[in-house]
């Protein structure tokens, strides 16, 4: 699909006729390549040449999922062959897909506890991962490229000892870090990161919650507006505190730290909704009606809840100074005032009416929502 593509067409040089010929020639070459690959796979020609041809075709069209499937069929075949035939006395036949091995490699493999066939598979996976890097950088939003890497990694996990497999996953963690540095909102990248971290944790029997939490801090400091990083942080915190065996006091201190962080971010840019969603998350951890938020403060009483609501309403009100036209402030005030009231607190109706009035003025697009809110809050003029 042409998402966000202000395309420029035409080859530039030559007349219309010659560029038409060029296009025809390119179509012909593409169709021939496609037919060649397809025929070879049909004939179960799992040779190095076929493998290289899939690379050429995919570099022209990485969205061609059937060709990725062909590539995996081929690799799967080679892996199976390695296990059934490979031994030091039985070298691979000429023309078949294999890596250029030498004695030093083999010795290193033996030290790592890999059999010769595992060693060969490990090299094949490693070569495929690195040869596909340029394509991924060129098409960072192509599902199939990410998907193929995942598949290679699950094969590494199945066929290799944990210590070797984990090295592959660690390599992917470094890669996804680079990809997210290039586009910090790429949801393929964030999804892949979660998969990679889970695999490292499982294979290494370790927790990466602390390290990943630090990573979100780094990402947020680079770009405050990165909601993907804030979201990931919100997912890590409840687990992190459990793993720290944090008592109530430590949890309270942690929550205060997060409020400080988000408040100073909001002072930097109160018009950024990513930040307000994170503020909402922190408040939601104190709200028993939103179980998806997880828990930070525990145990937590209603008087704790009221204390935080009061603190945050005061703090958000102060943000109005110089940002009187910021609709998110009024939204937050009304939402937290409502919760305060639900807990039995008193709120000045005139304040709420004033906030709602400002909100309607500043945000006419969502007038229907404010009308419903007015009803829910009982602020209608009777």
């Amino acid at each position: 699909m042409s998402h966000g593509v202000p395309r420029v067409g035409g080859e530039g040089e030559g007349g219309v006729a010659s560029s038409q010929d060029k296009i025809k020639a390119r179509i012909k070459a593409y169709k021939e390549l496609e037919k060649d690959v397809t025929d070879r796979i049909k004939n179960e020609d799992y040779s190095n040449t076929t493998f290289q041809l899939t690379s050429t075709l995919l570099s022209q069209n990485p969205e061609y999922y059937t060709i990725w499937n062909h590539r995996r069929l081929l690799l799967q075949h080679v892996f199976a062959r390695e296990f059934s035939t490979s031994s030091p006395d039985n070298p691979t036949a000429e023309g078949t897909l294999s890596t250029s091995d030498d004695h030093a490699d083999t010795t290193a493999a033996q030290k790592a506890g890999l059999s010769p066939s595992q060693h060969e598979i490990s090299l094949l996976i490693s070569e495929d991962l690195s040869s596909l890097l340029p394509l991924l950088k060129q098409y960072p939003k192509c599902y199939w490229i990410w998907n193929h890497r995942s598949w290679l990694l699950t094969k590494a996990t199945t066929h290799l000892p944990a210590a070797s497999a984990i090295k592959f996953w660690q390599g992917e963690l470094a890669l996804v870090g680079k990809m997210l540095a290039l586009d910090s909102r790429n949801f393929h990248g964030w999804g892949y990161r979660r998969t990679v971290v889970e695999a490292i944790e499982r294979l290494g029997d370790i927790s990466m919650a602390e390290k990943e939490f630090e990573y979100t801090t780094k990402m947020i400091k680079t770009n405050l507006s990165n909601f993907s990083a804030w979201h990931y942080r919100s997912q890590l915190i409840p687990r992190l505190l459990n793993e720290r065996n944090a008592r109530r006091e430590a949890r309270a201190k942690f929550l205060d730290g997060e409020f400080e962080l988000i408040t100073s971010a909001l002072y930097t840019d109160p018009y950024d909704q990513s930040l307000w969603f994170y503020h909402q998350f922190l408040m939601a951890t104190l709200d028993t009606t939103n179980p998806q938020a997880g828990i930070i403060l525990s145990p937590c009483t209603n008087s704790d809840r009221k204390m935080y609501l009061e603190q945050e309403v005061t703090s958000v009100r102060e943000m109005l100074d110089g940002a009187e036209d910021c609709k998110y402030i009024y939204q937050a005030l009304l939402e937290y005032a409502r919760r305060w009231r639900d807990l039995g607190g008193e709120v000045e109706k005139t304040d709420m009416k004033e906030w709602l009035g400002e909100l309607r003025k500043l945000d006419p697009l969502r007038e229907g929502r404010w009308r419903d809110l007015e009803k829910v809050l009982g602020l209608e003029v009777v």
Binding site: M1, S2, H3, G4, V5, P6, R7, G9, I23, K24, R26, I27, Y30, K31, Q60, N61, E63, Y64, Y65, T66, N69, R72, Y143, N147, S150, W151, T154, R185, F187, W190, G191, R194, S225, F227, S228, H231, Y232, S234, Q235, D272, Q273, S274, F277, Q280, F281, A284, T289, N290, Q292, A293, G294, D363, P364, L365, R366, E367, G368, R369, R371, D372
Partner: protein
């Protein structure tokens, strides 16, 4: 149906929309019809891997525009059946491997064109064969894979439920038979994808995304658990997140906080709002104007944003968005 983009571009986006500019229905119809005649362009060949979905988008747009016969039904059925594999799955085009995404498109087309009559005539027990392909892709945790290679995504889960429901083969639709899939496990998986902001992601733990919200709400709606799971508070929270997708300057929707607008979110966000009864939480007039500005008023077709190349994907989702809003002359659509 070729997926080639252009040749037209959406309007320039500068300045106000002339009052008289409405949806250029005939031009969009002609644009969709013209897509099949563009085999002399390289991009047409580079997009074969989406072809059957392209037909679904084109055909649905034509249905919504009240001209379902503008693509000859016999040719459409012929093409769709030529994509069917022995295992009951469909590829995107002849020679392309079977995949959930294209199987769902095929089922949607066959349901729309002749309610599976031709399929059943040519393929013995065809509907059940397709259903079994889909059901076999369900994973132990309830979610669905896209194909035998194992990628999972809430898009596939929704697609599976949607297609099985069109085939009339969901467990509740055939109570006396052994169930083809585990509906409870599928629904539980969807629930596990929900976040504190009320939205849903592509997998448990993933950030909320408007496209994924559509698939998850659609799935819950098909299994009849939308209202009971979300409750009023859940709907308010999700409605708030969704309504914040509308941007002040353009009136269009984005898919996540602080991202660019794109006309296809008129459908993903719009239908999600409709499913939770919050369509009034956005400005429909501004959204309509944005969608109309994405049209190429001369050659037809709709782009993701004003000024970009038009294509059939965005043309379809833009028209479906207008349908949700009740735009005159566009048929009403079921949001799920």
């Amino acid at each position: 149906m070729s997926l080639v983009a252009g040749p037209g571009r959406g309007g320039t986006g500068s300045g106000q929309l002339p009052d008289e500019l409405g949806l250029v229905v005939q031009k969009h119809v002609a644009y969709i019809q013209s897509l099949d005649t563009r085999r002399d362009e390289l991009e047409s060949h580079l997009t074969e891997h989406l072809r059957i979905s392209g037909i679904y988008w084109g055909l649905t747009a034509l249905h919504l525009l009240g001209q379902p016969a503008a693509l000859p039904p016999e040719e459409v059925i012929e093409f769709v059946l030529s994509c069917l594999h022995d295992n009951g799955g469909f590829g995107a085009a002849p020679g392309h491997d079977a995949h959930m995404l294209y199987t769902v498109s095929a089922v949607q087309i066959l349901a729309m064109v002749d309610d599976f009559v031709e399929l059943e005539m040519r393929v013995p027990n065809g509907k059940m064969k397709i259903a079994r392909y889909i059901a076999d892709l369900q994973q132990p945790n309830g979610t669905f894979a896209g194909d035998e290679w194992g990628e999972t995504d809430t898009r596939f889960l929704y697609g599976a439920l949607n297609a099985l429901s069109l085939l009339n083969l969901l467990p509740p639709q055939r109570k006396d038979e052994p169930p083809l899939i585990n509906v409870t496990a599928a629904t539980d998986h969807v629930k596990a994808c929900q976040n504190f902001d009320g939205g849903f992601g592509v997998a448990p733990g993933a950030e909320s995304h408007a496209g994924q919200i559509f698939t998850c709400l659609g799935a819950l709606s098909i299994t009849g658990e939308l209202d009971s799971f979300l409750g009023e508070e859940g709907k308010d929270r999700l409605g708030a997140w969704l309504s914040e997708r509308q941007l002040d300057d353009s009136g269009g929707f984005n898919g996540r906080p602080m991202k660019l607008v794109d006309v296809c979110y008129a459908w993903w966000v719009g239908s999600s709002l409709a499913m939770i009864g919050k369509m009034d939480w956005i400005d429909k007039k501004k959204l309509t104007e944005f969608i109309l500005r994405c049209q190429d008023p001369e050659e037809g077709g709709i782009a993701d944003r004003p000024g970009d190349m038009v294509d059939v994907f965005h043309t379809h989702f833009a028209i479906a968005g207008l349908s949700l809003i009740g735009y005159p002359g566009v048929m009403l659509v079921d949001p799920a």
